[in-house]
């Protein structure tokens, strides 16, 4: 699953953004290969919105570099045409209808596919002729997604597109998105603080926590390389010296380690088992979600 540099849809190198004295995003280095649907996850305030806004060129970095389709985000028609963006809360002109939004889009973009968008919205019974302020949140999100897709971008960046939606609207939104990415080589990065929503549509994940990149990889590869090891506590130090231990839970005699393994570990001392994506993510975020476990520590080992 390794890809060469030129196939990266999104790449950042040491990207950082500071607002006054606080860093909203720090030392962010990610690679998203073309064609991936990537989940950008992390707790609130982890810098997800900041990262997406840097990628689409709405703000400029304090340090580091960003590349979308090998080009730094900038104010040029070329660049703007290649990137679609759906901001948080799906902003729309309240007094305009969906059809009017689509017409505006066709005036503001050289490449624009109104018909497909129109059909997609009609199929979901979204009224095209009512001001969008009279639509439900789910319907507005669908309109906003329709606009972003009608632009026919190569990279689509969605900021918390489902956060404000109820479960049904959430499912419908993700179904629309899945339809759209089914054909073609559109690359999508969508952020959420709820991984659960995204697992079905995504095949790649970027995990930001504490303003830094913790993880950026294909989901398959993450599941392949992250294992839980259970074994005697006295042997734990050796593992911690050799591998990146994401999380270690020690009881009196036993240790339970979440480890990143690039090659299979063959050692009868340790009992190996698979781990779910959510557990991996939570471990990187330093919270197991249950608060019932014993003393926890987030360990950053050699990388």
């Amino acid at each position: 699953m390794r890809t060469t540099e030129s196939e990266m849809a999104v790449r950042t190198i040491g990207l950082g953004k500071r607002f006054g004295p606080t860093w909203a995003l720090e030392d962010c280095s990610i690679d998203v290969p073309q064609g991936r649907v990537s989940a950008l996850v992390g707790p609130n305030g982890a810098g997800k919105t900041t990262l997406l806004r840097l990628l689409v060129g709405l703000s400029s970095p304090s340090v580091g570099e960003a590349f979308v389709l090998d080009k730094p985000p900038r104010q040029s028609q070329d660049f703007l045409a290649s990137v679609g963006y759906l901001a948080q809360q799906a902003p729309l002109y309240k007094q305009l209808t969906a059809a009017e939004h689509l017409r505006l889009g066709s005036h503001l973009n050289s490449r624009w596919d109104s018909d497909t968008a129109m059909n997609r919205l009609t199929a979901r019974h979204i009224p095209l002729d009512r001001p969008v302020e009279t639509l439900s949140g789910g319907q507005r999100s669908q309109v906003a997604l329709g606009l972003a897709l009608a632009k026919q971008p190569q990279v689509l960046l969605l900021d918390e597109p489902v956060a404000a939606l109820d479960p049904l609207a959430r499912r419908e939104f993700l179904a629309s998105l899945a339809d759209a990415v089914a054909d073609g080589d559109l690359t999508v990065v969508l952020s959420s603080h709820l991984l659960h929503d995204l697992e079905r549509v995504c095949d790649h994940i970027i995990l930001l926590a504490a303003s830094r990149t913790q993880l950026c990889d294909d989901i398959d590869h993450i599941l392949e390389t992250h294992k839980v090891l259970v074994g005697p506590r006295r042997a734990a130090a050796e593992i911690e010296g050799r591998y990146r231990v994401v999380r270690a839970v020690h009881s009196e005699r036993q240790s339970r380690l979440l480890v990143q393994l690039e090659a299979p570990l063959i050692d009868p001392t340790w009992e190996l088992s698979d781990v779910g994506l959510e557990d991996v993510v939570l471990a990187y975020m330093g919270d197991d979600g249950s608060n019932t476990a014993g003393p926890l520590s987030l360990v950053g080992g050699p990388r």
Binding site: L58, S76, L80, L104, N109
Partner: protein
């Protein structure tokens, strides 16, 4: 781009258009009557050579409409408040800058076309209003022989410049503050401040005024008809300002005269003179051109500032 601008601003344009239409009807009806009154009065008094009191007699019953016309001086400010201030600020309040600035149009060209349309509309409205008012005031201004005074601010080319300036100020404030109400407040304060400073302090100094001194006589203006009188004072023989409150300022011989009506002739006999400082009516267009240029240059600077903010600053 054009359609977006029209669709988003059509309410404002329709509202302003309706207001202008109402004003136009009102002025056309009253203005025609006034022109008729003026010409028939001129014909009558011209025949009897008794036109002296005409300005005082004519148009006395038109107080309300005259006040209304004078009030058109605030119209440019309204453009600034309701067209200029929300232009960028409203996008930020609704979050739609994230939508419109990520379409296939650069921020620079989005800003350029928006600003161009709004400024053009403001200039057109200001021009139309000024034409109407200039025509309407024609008879009255002819009677007074000049257009300095209220007419300076609401006729000629200055209303265009004020409208353009107010809108540019609104745009700049809205771009900087990103909130409609604070931007409107800033526009209001800025407009009043700049208009006041230019009108009261700078304008009298556009061209060195004419200083005319003459023998002290009561009830003589000393300045030609229609002139803008900037100051009218009494000076002593040495050219200093006459100060009746200090004993030294008044010649001893005239102390008694201060308490009856012969003060003026007594002071005149002692070499006191009247000094009138004024701008003659003939300088009207020079002053209009200077005032116009000042406000257009200010507007250009504000627009350049707003454009730079939109392009450079993080959204």
């Amino acid at each position: 781009m054009n359609q977006l601008i029209w669709r988003l601003h059509r309410q404002q344009v329709i509202f302003a258009g309706a207001a202008l239409a109402v004003l136009a009807v009102l002025l056309l009806v009253t203005g025609t009557t006034m022109a008729h009154d003026y010409h028939s009065a001129l014909a009558t008094c011209g025949a009897t050579r008794s036109c002296g009191d005409l300005p005082g007699e004519l148009f006395q019953g038109d107080g309300l409409i005259i006040d209304l016309v004078s009030c058109t001086f605030v119209v440019p400010l309204l453009f600034g408040l309701f067209w200029g201030a929300p232009l960028v600020a409203k996008e930020f309040e609704q979050g739609t800058q994230d939508l419109v600035w990520t379409q296939g149009v650069t921020r620079r060209s989005w800003m350029t076309s928006n600003v161009a349309y709004v400024l053009a509309a403001a200039a057109a409205w200001g021009g139309a209003m000024s034409l109407l008012v200039t025509w309407w005031r024609g008879p009255e201004d002819a009677l007074h022989g000049g257009r300095f005074g209220v007419a300076f601010d609401i006729t000629g080319v200055t209303p265009i410049a004020y409208a353009v300036f107010a809108v540019a100020l609104g745009i700049a404030a809205g771009t900087m503050l990103r909130r409609v109400l604070p931007a409107m407040a800033t526009t209001l304060a800025g407009f009043v401040l700049v208009r006041g400073a230019v009108g009261l302090w700078l304008r009298p100094r556009f061209v060195a005024p004419i200083r005319h001194s003459f023998r002290l006589v009561n009830d003589v203006s000393g300045a030609p008809a229609g002139a803008w009188i900037i100051s009218k004072i009494i000076i002593d023989p040495a050219g200093r300002l006459y100060d009746p409150s200090s004993p030294a300022g008044v010649p001893a011989a005239c102390h008694a005269a201060l308490f009856n009506n012969s003060a003026a002739s007594c002071l005149a006999a002692h070499g006191f003179r009247r000094l009138v400082v004024y701008q003659p009516a003939g300088r009207f267009w020079t002053f209009q051109a200077i005032e116009f240029t000042i406000f257009i240059v200010l507007a250009a600077a504000l627009v350049a500032f707003a454009c730079a903010l939109v392009v450079r600053r993080d959204a």
